[in-house]
Symmetry: C2
Subunit: 261 residues, 2 copies
């Protein structure tokens, strides 16, 4: 399953066009990041949005204007070619999926790398908390909520959450584990009754696939990286790029190094 | 409300017989402890019971045999006279409440001081989590559960929990806050459905008073210091002494010094 011996070796496969699949399970122990690229004129506003919504939008890397490097996440990283799939948006509409950005990159673009739940799921498993959608090899269920994001200019909208079912004792343990990782969404934002955060039907996620909630289990909800993606779409930027869902940037940063205590 | 300027000054009032009430609210910021005194022949077994059940029975001080001092909790502490009320048990039955142990103390006795929830409730309030039974000036509701304690010789029985109602977001925050205080019961042991831990009627606590659970709130359950008291009673020791409920030992240890991170 693992195709490379290191994040660098993995990125070299991606650059060569020899890895184009989802990145879950690749380079275990290393942080993977969501990607958001936009013209520099919107970048300061987006950074303020991220600052206002740190649980859903934890920025772990930012490029300089026009420079696709993110040296804090890996000396060689080039956001134009290091992600195995990209989505191109114009005026808030997805217009294409592309394998690289060699032709699309522009000297006014700024790239944001945002922490993702793969990191804390690894910590949950190591901490003895099973993760249903990993066990069942499905996509985590995600839901629109009735909780408004902090708004910065054109970036706003409502929060999106991911859900993992578990027992109450596991939920308590999961709070402890994920609290250590504020840069990958941190502690849950809700647990128990889905209606409290505006979710009408837990079996009908807005994104991803439904996850079975067994007797004695409760749903536990985390802030989700789809939140900034939705904010970017609803801001209707004339030009924006994200990673293709599930196709992340694999960085040189160890998940364990993101732990705050 | 506060009657003394320091734990030492407070203990001097207790020794003089001038303070005989419950200790909640006295010497804010300082750790209060539950008390269990028994003949030394049972002490090693009780310590093993405590070790097996650290969340309900977090030992923060132990005396030498026959010596009522606990210098790690306060240089001057004398367990015979520093607690504002004691219960005397013979063969597991409560036979008297006494104001001091001057006549009852024996040279074979060992005293245990056990961390209590007053410490973490102070941390909850400081952390922005309201505590219903403090707001309403009632006794925290406590319940027998269907969760067996770890057993050491004659000490066993079922776990007892205390309950505080709060919103899910407050419960997540409460897990973070109380996880820092393993020596005062630590993180919750359960949240949500009371039936999962054998509680049939949340409005009918086995000890203390019922607490209102408002719409949007869930019950959150912590291991409780009544657990070791019940274990001592059910072990039917020929002779044992505990503090009178609510009448704790006030120590020189700051609550904040008990935090593990």
């Amino acid at each position: 399953m693992t195709v490379a011996s290191s994040p660098l070796a993995f990125r070299q496969l991606v650059r060569a066009g020899r890895f184009t699949a989802q990145t879950a399970g690749q380079c275990p122990g290393y942080t993977q990041g969501n990607l958001a690229i936009m013209p520099g004129e919107y970048a300061d506003e987006f950074l303020r949005f991220a600052r206002l919504n740190p649980k859903s939008c934890p920025v772990i890397g930012i490029t300089k204007v026009g420079d696709p490097a993110v040296p804090e996440l890996g000396e060689d990283i080039d956001l134009r070619i290091d992600v195995p799939g990209y989505c191109l948006f114009r005026d808030g509409e997805k217009v294409a999926e592309v394998p690289h950005l060699r032709e699309l990159w522009r000297d006014d673009l700024v790239g944001f790398v945002i922490g993702c739940s793969l990191s804390f799921e690894e910590a949950l498993l190591e901490g003895g908390v099973p993760v249903r959608h990993i066990e069942q090899n499905t996509t985590v269920p995600m839901y629109d909520t009735n909780r408004p994001n902090g708004t910065a200019g054109r970036f706003g909208g409502m929060g999106v959450v991911s859900m993992r079912p578990m027992t109450a004792a596991q939920a308590i343990r999961a709070v402890q584990i994920t609290s250590r990782f504020p840069s990958t969404h941190g502690a849950p934002v809700h647990l128990g009754d889905p209606a409290e955060i505006g979710i009408a039907d837990i079996d009908a996620p807005d994104y991803g696939e439904a996850a079975e909630i067994r007797p004695g289990e409760i749903p536990v909800f985390w802030a989700c990286g789809v939140t900034p993606q939705q904010a970017i779409r609803s801001a209707r930027l004339p030009f924006a790029i994200t990673h293709k869902p599930g196709h992340m940037l694999v960085t040189d940063v160890r998940n364990s190094h993101l732990a705050v205590f």
